[in-house]
């Protein structure tokens, strides 16, 4: 984010007898015109591709609209009323929450452990291993999904073949066809695919821990686990909050992978909200041949609002924890 300086760097421009803060707004804008000018492309793109669609999705959610006409029929909140009573939507909502509440912590913790291991300066192959972990991140999700349908396939899929040859299983496991395993198989793929990104976040966070602390702890006889517990983890907690929020948000956006691997099946067992929205809006089989853009928009807006509320609650909880920690830190300090 660009920070626009609020103090003038050109004293000669100051009006007679005025401080920078006292200048009229238009003068300040003219003074920093190049900053604003360079912001314009970003604002245009953000307006076109973020804010306009956001606003219009709210408008569309009040319409009965197939998308084949220029505009739909205004029906007020009927789409939301239908949505509240739609068990399929709530099932999809629940699965999205599972993706977030189960997948995000697993990924954050595992990535931290791997990052700590790779942060060791003595490990010469660390850059290579980091690359291997990060490769899935830069691979297209849809491609990963399609490949994983073969990898996890119950007919001569490599995973089943290996498990059978190791005699861990007698019969192939139908990872993606069995409703009991399909969701976890997709979730596992999601965790694996984006694991590298979380690992990079942690590596960056680990770089901020001064090496002096570890050296001092070593001199005092602290082992690796003691250092991890007493130095690394406490200093990483502020980063953990941000990384957890980013990871959780990412787990809510799993459309490409789910659609490629299972398309929400079998029998809705992997249908997350994004897949529900897509299928409602575009999938002729689901919609019976006629898309329902208005209803899909309502689902999207509702879900967006729910995740916003969740994020705000999460931030409030984190702030509360930090306040308590600061308080405890103050009370514990020697006078």
């Amino acid at each position: 984010m660009i920070t626009v300086a609020t103090t003038s760097t050109r004293p000669g421009r100051a009006g007679p007898g005025t401080t920078p803060q006292q200048r009229p707004l238009w003068q300040r804008i003219v003074l920093h015109r190049w900053c604003y000018l360079f912001l314009v492309p970003t604002l245009i793109l953000a307006g076109l591709f973020t804010f306009y669609p956001m606003v219009m999705s709210w408008v569309f959610s009040t319409l009965d609209w197939t998308g084949f006409t220029d505009s739909g029929r205004f029906i007020g909140l009927d789409n939301y009323v239908e949505l509240v009573g739609d068990p399929l939507f709530w099932n999809a909502f629940g699965r999205s929450l599972i993706f977030m509440l189960v997948g995000a912590p697993i990924r954050v913790v595992l990535a931290l452990l791997v990052a700590i291991a790779l942060n060791n300066q003595m490990l010469k192959v660390s850059p290579v291993i980091r690359t291997f972990f990060f490769l899935p991140v830069v691979t297209t999700a849809a491609v990963v999904g399609i490949v994983m349908t073969f990898v996890l396939g119950s007919y001569q899929g490599p995973v089943n073949t290996v498990l059978q040859q190791l005699m861990i299983i007698d019969q192939p496991v139908e990872f993606l066809s069995n409703p009991d395993t399909a969701l976890w198989a997709v979730l596992g793929t999601q965790v694996w695919k984006n694991f590298g990104m979380t690992m990079i976040y942690w590596l960056a966070a680990l770089q901020t821990v001064p090496r002096d602390y570890y050296e001092a702890a070593s001199v005092d006889g602290a082992g690796r686990w003691a250092q991890l517990r007493a130095i690394t983890v406490p200093l990483l907690i502020p980063f953990a909050v941000v990384i957890l929020i980013l990871t959780a948000k990412e787990h809510l956006h799993s459309f490409a992978l789910v659609q490629a691997m299972t398309a929400g099946g079998p029998y809705y067992s992997t249908q997350v909200v994004e897949v529900f929205i897509y299928q409602t809006a575009f999938d002729p089989e689901t919609t019976g041949g006629i898309p329902r853009l208005g209803y899909a928009s309502a689902a999207g807006c509702f879900f967006g609002l729910a995740t916003l509320i969740f994020t705000l609650l999460q931030l409030a909880a984190v702030k509360k924890v930090n306040d308590v920690r600061k308080q405890l830190g103050t009370e514990g300090r020697a006078p």
Binding site: T66, G67, F68, T69, D70, L88, T149, G153, S154, Y155, P172, E174, L176, S177, N178, P179, A182, M261, T262, A263, G265, P266, Y267, Y268, S269, F282, D283, P284, E285, T286, T287, G288, G289, I290, P291, R292
Partner: protein, 511 residues
């Protein structure tokens, strides 16, 4: 069209055609056809410019490139890939850019193209509410596009252009070049595997028990290399009606029939086959395209699918030897009910340049002639049967059809019956169709849920579907009426419907 549950089997528009009465009408009207181009020589593997008639209207003289979008890949592709090069050689200043998308993708892409103002000049209207395109002014009236329209239209058999389906406010906006008088589901089998199992479903069609037994035996012989039945768990309706059961909607009573015992019986059979291990592993996560793509690789002995696979498999897997047989059936009670307002329809984009419309109109005009229907029949075969019974009869007599297409047409004669269509009786029914909301879970999904164990009581699930469909229809009728449509539940009742016969124009008159 089975009204009006949003079950996936009812999404395609079908149209009335191909009955004996229509065949007689077509023969009687043949003297009135506009195009008198005769071509006694059979059409070859490739179409020659000399096979094509002179244009019905004055085509543009400057260079023109039109875009034509249709569903594919499939049998239809063969028609356009034969026709357009020949047309371009006949008219060197005209280029036809053929764009092919799967049917579901057309429904996704077309609304965006229309809103962006860059739709193809001529596009297929699969799964698209044509009345909405008409009311929003997105499609051109073919009356203004197709040359000598009135004579051309007058030469059509009844049921090709239907008010409420193709015609709105007295003008025609969609032209359907084919009919749905076909089987959408057959047993397509791997000849070698079937022979090894000792079955011949062509000579002795399966019944439900022998079908299950054959699948089991094939699976045992396959030893995990191949299985009895490749499936993505499609719509079981045809399997029901091939065993004396009703279609989804019984027009005699005007009620949904999902809860009929035969639906339960068929679903229990498939569940038993799954328990036998006869279904290809991972069937619940396969889609239809994947299942069809894997079958020629020798992974299963049978697949229940349609005739559109013939040219694709022959083209991509020329060494794959497959056979065609009817669905497992109860003798003398086997029918496939086709809604009459189906087939492949095409419309012209209203904002296409005038010279593009001239070319598009000429091509659509061609498909509405006997020669055009012959070309369609010759290169499409049995997958999307032409509505001209003359063209079909000539093709079947010509010896040019593949053995699969020959068998398929014979099965169509024996098993296909045309349903009544409320929209034919009352064009306002189109508004009810638009008002219908899809019922979830639909029949396919219930079957899949039952096979995966997520639905324990299939009878209860089917009853829920029936009840929801009935309510959905009533609600849609109420909504259509509130928008000025003159419709009622009585429009869906055809007491004179005989399920063993086609419902013809005379039957509509004597309702």
């Amino acid at each position: 069209m089975i009204p009006l549950s949003r079950d996936s089997s009812t999404t395609r528009r079908r149209f009335l055609g191909g009955s004996l009465a229509l065949g007689a009408a077509a023969a009687g009207l043949s003297a009135c056809r506009v195009q008198t181009q005769s071509n006694e020589a059979p059409l070859g593997e490739t179409l020659s410019p000399d096979d094509l008639p002179e244009p019905a209207a004055r085509l543009p003289e400057g260079d023109v490139t039109i875009r034509w979008m249709s569903g594919g890949p499939g049998a239809k592709s063969a028609v356009f890939k034969a026709l357009f090069p020949a047309y371009q050689r006949k008219h060197p200043n005209i280029t036809v850019t053929y764009n092919e998308l799967t049917n579901d993708k057309i429904g996704e892409v077309l609304p965006i193209q229309l809103r962006n103002g860059n739709a193809d000049d001529v596009f297929q209207t699969v799964g698209i509410p044509i009345s909405q395109l008409v009311s929003s002014g997105k499609v051109a009236a073919l009356d203004d596009v197709i040359p000598d329209f009135e004579n051309w239209k007058a030469a059509m058999p009844d049921g090709v252009i239907v008010p409420g389906v193709d015609e709105f406010d007295g003008k025609t906006y969609q032209f359907r070049v084919s009919t749905d008088r076909r089987l959408q589901q057959m047993v397509l089998f791997n000849t070698e595997i079937m022979e090894r199992a000792g079955y011949d479903p062509v000579a002795e069609p399966f019944d439900l028990d022998t079908f299950r037994a054959a699948a089991k035996k094939i699976t045992e012989q396959g030893d995990e290399k191949y299985y009895g039945l490749q499936t993505s768990v499609g719509n079981p309706t045809d399997l029901v009606t091939f065993n004396g059961g009703p279609p989804n909607f019984d027009y005699r009573t005007g009620t949904y029939q999902f809860a009929d015992d035969r639906y339960v019986e068929v679903m229990e059979l498939l569940k038993a086959m799954a328990a036998d291990g006869s279904l290809f592993p991972g069937f619940a996560s396969l889609n239809d395209q994947q299942a069809r793509g894997q079958f020629p690789l020798g992974r299963a002995g049978m697949i229940i699918n349609g005739p559109w696979n013939f040219p694709v498999w022959k083209g991509e897997f020329p060494d794959f030897d497959f056979g065609v047989a009817p669905l497992p059936m109860t003798k003398d009670q086997a029918f496939r009910y086709a809604a009459p307002v189906g087939g492949n329809g095409y419309a012209v984009y209203v904002d296409a340049p005038d010279d593009h419309k001239l070319v598009g109109g000429d091509l659509l005009h061609f498909f509405g002639t006997e020669l055009g229907q012959k070309v369609w029949a010759r290169y499409d075969g049995a997958a999307d049967p032409a509505w001209s019974t003359t063209a079909i009869a000539e093709l079947r007599d010509s010896g040019q059809l593949s053995e699969h297409d020959v068998l398929a047409f014979e099965m169509y004669d024996e098993y296909v019956r045309m349903l009544p269509a409320p929209v034919v009786a009352n064009p306002d029914q189109e508004k009810v169709q638009l008002a219908m909301k899809p019922i979830k879970p639909n029949l396919n999904e219930i079957l899949k849920g039952y096979l995966t164990g997520q639905i324990a009581d299939v009878r209860q699930a089917l009853q829920k579907l029936t009840d929801a469909s009935e309510k959905g229809l009533d609600d849609a009728i109420a909504q259509a009426r509130s928008q000025g449509a003159e419709v009622s539940r009585d429009d869906w009742v055809f007491a004179n419907w005989d399920p063993t016969k086609d419902y013809t124009t005379d039957d509509y008159a004597n309702r």
